[in-house]
């Protein structure tokens, strides 16, 4: 916060002084200034702020590392002998003590004194480094501003300089998008790699048992749990299939009706209503699934089961009578509702892109509207519609809240829609929302799942976008 205030003050000061300087140096002289005072001011501000900002950023990134290095350089053997986990816990407690807080655990006698000493040392080093960085940033800002102030003269081409910086700034903005991707990949790959060191990647991808438990006995290292993700993939696939069975036909048929049959008035009322369905947050769908659809489906199946018990289908009846709220069908059906507007608006675009001449040709041959649609439009639009469905599939796979709230946690390897299944996203949330040490295989497993999810959805998106754009070009 202090840094922000400092930078804003610096910016304002440089702007005001630079602008004033530009006006002052022009005054009384019979010259036309190349650039306007505002541009000179902006030039001064850039020179004052940007180098300081760069130094500050580098400092903020490297300081923790330097601090850790300094702290560990003065480490006593008692601390150095600790196991890595205990040692990390010791340092995080020392940091707390240094900041004036309570330690989270009670440390045995030699370590307890060590803790206070280390805490003080950490606080001292942290303050020192912060002060040093502050002085450095201030010096850089001052030098930058002075350099800029000396250059302000009527014939100085401040505008071109400023505009070059603006272009660089804009490029940096768009580079953030690439950096985000790199960040996603880097964080997922790094933590997944650590995960795959304790769990072989083949076991993760092809194992059929998922129970991410942590070793209870102390002599066990790493995980004793099973990290075979096949049941999660199967559950994700099952829920996705159910969702597509709901969303596919409804979305496609409503798109066909809206684009081919409906008048402008119907279109104008129905389309925004469908868009509302798309705008509803997923947590709301989750609530709807968990407290409305789930219980309703359970009652429905239990009643049917009640009728069948004692009859020829007694076994089925027994099963149906015990069906629970959290079945794959609940999550799948609600996810399907969520996807309807997605499928329908994409398909709508695709169908509208089919040239009118194809329709006219078909009508001229005496075909009815439905024949035109099913025999001419659909075959022509098929690649595009397939692309739209793939995008919807990728959405369904990545959807989190509905499944977290309405599907279960039991990793059953089944394709029975009335059973409880779990999905990749549910497990990511479950693994990361408990009170876990960050470095345990259990939490790292979430990154393995996340990487899988990212790669699969990315592949689906790339394929879908290729298909759709190839389809568009065909009719352009």
């Amino acid at each position: 916060m202090t840094w922000l205030v400092f930078l804003i003050l610096l910016l304002a000061g440089a702007l005001a002084y630079g602008g004033g300087l530009a006006l002052a140096r022009r005054r009384g002289r019979d010259v036309r200034s190349h650039s306007r005072p505002g541009q000179h001011a902006a030039f001064a501000a850039i020179w004052a702020v940007i180098p300081a900002l760069v130094v500050l950023t580098i400092g903020q990134i490297t300081l923790p590392g330097i601090a850790t290095g300094l702290i560990e350089a003065g480490e006593t053997p008692a601390v150095a002998e600790l196991e890595p986990f205990r040692r990390a816990a010791f340092y995080s407690d020392a940091r707390r003590v240094g900041a004036g807080d309570q330690a989270q655990q009670i440390w045995p006698a030699p370590l307890a004194q060590e803790l206070t000493a280390t805490g003080q040392r950490i606080a001292w080093i942290g303050n020192g480094l912060n002060l040093a960085l502050g002085a450095l940033v201030a010096a850089v800002a001052l030098i930058g501003a002075l350099v800029a102030f000396t250059r302000i003269r009527p014939d100085f081409r401040a505008r071109s300089r400023v505009e070059a910086w603006v272009a660089i700034g804009l490029f940096a903005c768009s580079a953030i998008a690439v950096l985000t991707t790199i960040g996603i990949i880097a964080s997922l790959v790094y933590d997944s790699w650590r995960f795959f060191q304790s769990v072989p990647i083949t076991e993760f991808l092809f194992g059929t048992k998922w129970s991410p438990q942590i070793a209870i006995r102390a002599d066990q290292v790493g995980s004793s749990g099973a990290f075979g993700a096949v049941p999660l993939f199967a559950g994700t696939l099952l829920i996705m299939l159910i969702a597509m069975i709901v969303a596919g036909p409804i979305g496609l048929f409503s798109a066909i009706y809206l684009s081919e049959y409906a008048g402008p008035k119907t279109r104008a009322t129905v389309k925004p209503l469908l868009e509302i369905l798309a705008g509803v947050p997923t947590v709301v769908y989750g609530f709807f699934a968990a407290l409305t659809v789930g219980p309703a489906l359970r009652v429905f199946f239990n009643t049917i089961g009640g009728w069948l018990i004692g009859g020829p289908l007694d076994g089925v009846g027994q099963y149906l009578a015990l069906v629970q709220n959290q079945m794959a069908l609940t999550a799948g059906a609600v996810m399907g509702i969520m996807l309807i507007p997605f499928v329908s608006s994409l398909s709508d675009d695709i169908i509208n892109a089919v040239p009118q001449s194809l329709r006219d040709g078909s009508f001229a041959m005496g075909a009815t509207k439905s024949e035109t649609i099913s025999r001419v439009l659909m075959p022509a639009a098929l690649p595009g519609v397939a692309g739209a469905f793939l995008l919807a599939v990728s959405r369904a796979i990545g959807e989190t809240m509905i499944v977290t709230m309405a599907a279960g946690l039991a990793a059953n390897l089944t394709f029975n829609p009335l059973d409880t299944v779990t999905t990749v996203t549910v497990q990511i949330v479950t693994l990361l929302t408990g009170d876990q040490e960050f470095n345990s295989p259990k939490t790292l497993a979430a990154f393995g799942l996340g990487l899988t999810l990212f790669l699969v959805t990315l592949a689906l998106n790339i394929i879908a976008q290729r298909i759709v754009s190839a389809y568009r070009e065909q009719y352009d």
């Binding site: 505009e163 603006v166 272009a167 804009l170 903005c173 768009s174 580079a175 953030i176 998008a177 985000t180 991707t181 996603i184 964080s187 997922l188 790094y190 409804i250 979305g251 496609l252 048929f253 409503s254 009706y257 809206l258 081919e260 049959y261 209503l273 469908l274 705008g279 509803v280 947050p281 997923t282 947590v283 709301v284 609530f287 709807f288 407290l291 509702i337 329908s344 009815t368 439905s370 024949e371 649609i373 099913s374 995008l391 990728s394 990545g398 989190t400 977290t404 709230m405 990511i428 949330v429 990361l432 929302t433 960050f438 979430a446 990154f447 999810l453 990212f454 959805t457 998106n461 976008q465």
Partner: protein, 437 residues
Amino acid sequence: MTDAADMTPAAPVAAPSAPLRDRLAAGLKRRHARENRFRWYGRLAIIAALAFLALLMGRIVSQGYTAFYIHTAAVAVHLDPAKVDRGYPAGSNFEQMAAEQMLARWGETDDAAGTKAKALRSLFSSELKFRAAEMVTRQPGLIGETVPVTAPLSDDADLYLKGKISRDVPSDQRRLSDQQLNWLDRMQADGLVASRFNSALFLNGDSTEPELAGVLGAVVGSALMLLVTALIAIPLGVGAAIYLEEFSPRNRISELIEVNINNLAAVPSIVYGLLGLALFINWMHLPRASPLVGGLVLALMALPTLIIATRSSLKAVPPSIREAALAMGASRTQAVFGHVLPLAMPGVMTGAIISMAHALGETAPLLLIGMISFVPGVPAAIDQPAGALPSLIYIWENASERAFHERTAAAIMVLLAFMILMNAAAIILRRRFERRW
């Protein structure tokens, strides 16, 4: 066609024979029936989608409207000097006092362990204690007097009075005993119970007691988070869009950026949550569950859609504007910032508001950065743990108390109201300022 008259009359088309005509007629009928059916498939699909929408909204309203009112009881409490702690009024057990006195007034005798008083006491919210303590702190002279204290009833009592706990259910399956229900009926008959607007829902932060829980903390948390998101995502997104649309040379790098942005827009939100956890919390050590981290994650998530929306509104400004500015001697930067961007501004703002509304409803990444734990009170700073509306909905939905269910639906209504407001603002902005060229 003009010389049609000159043409020799065409040979008359041979009329189809009778059986063929019948077959054609029958086929035509079949085809028309199929046409009709096909049209109905479309209608049914739309009806189904709209029915789902109506069901969704209807269920939320029907489950949630009861959370907007709450039953309070006006209890006469004799502030027994022997039992009120003068030095620390908040430490006195006013609920117990009120329950014992109420039993005495009703002429009911309690056993030595005070079982009945305990059962009656549990019908009052702990708010009773706080209000009585506040009265005593403000006016110590009240001690020894009998004062009426109005406070909410407990969540279960409130549910019974709202008709959500039924007497027909066997008493071991409901949270209130027959005796407690009788007392509630008696309190109602004596005119002690009133139902009023549940202002706590809007003025309180989260609480473990449903009758005291409110959405204000989450609303403020969400607002702080959106502020961070807007401050980061809008400048960056607009800047990136301007670069890609107005400055970038057509080369591999800009192509790469474009492909990247399109793919980022489709990355599942939970992956952004993982990124936020790894990058902002584990690497940068920013405070967990803070609006700062939440806002940063949502900003990264909102960026691609914002860039795409901004680009399309920049594209809508006709090139003649740019060319005119350049012809008058403006530099590229001046043409863009002085002419193109101001004209595209309504579209840019519309896109920004819509993407902010979308970010407001996003939940999954917030769970991963720790916004899943109970945060009482109202957050005051962006670097302290806070709740957010969507995560509050998730937390309340998971709560075991039934009274939280209606409050979940009410919180959803609050969330949807904010989203509707934002979208309406975007639509008005577009209607009022958008120019068609």
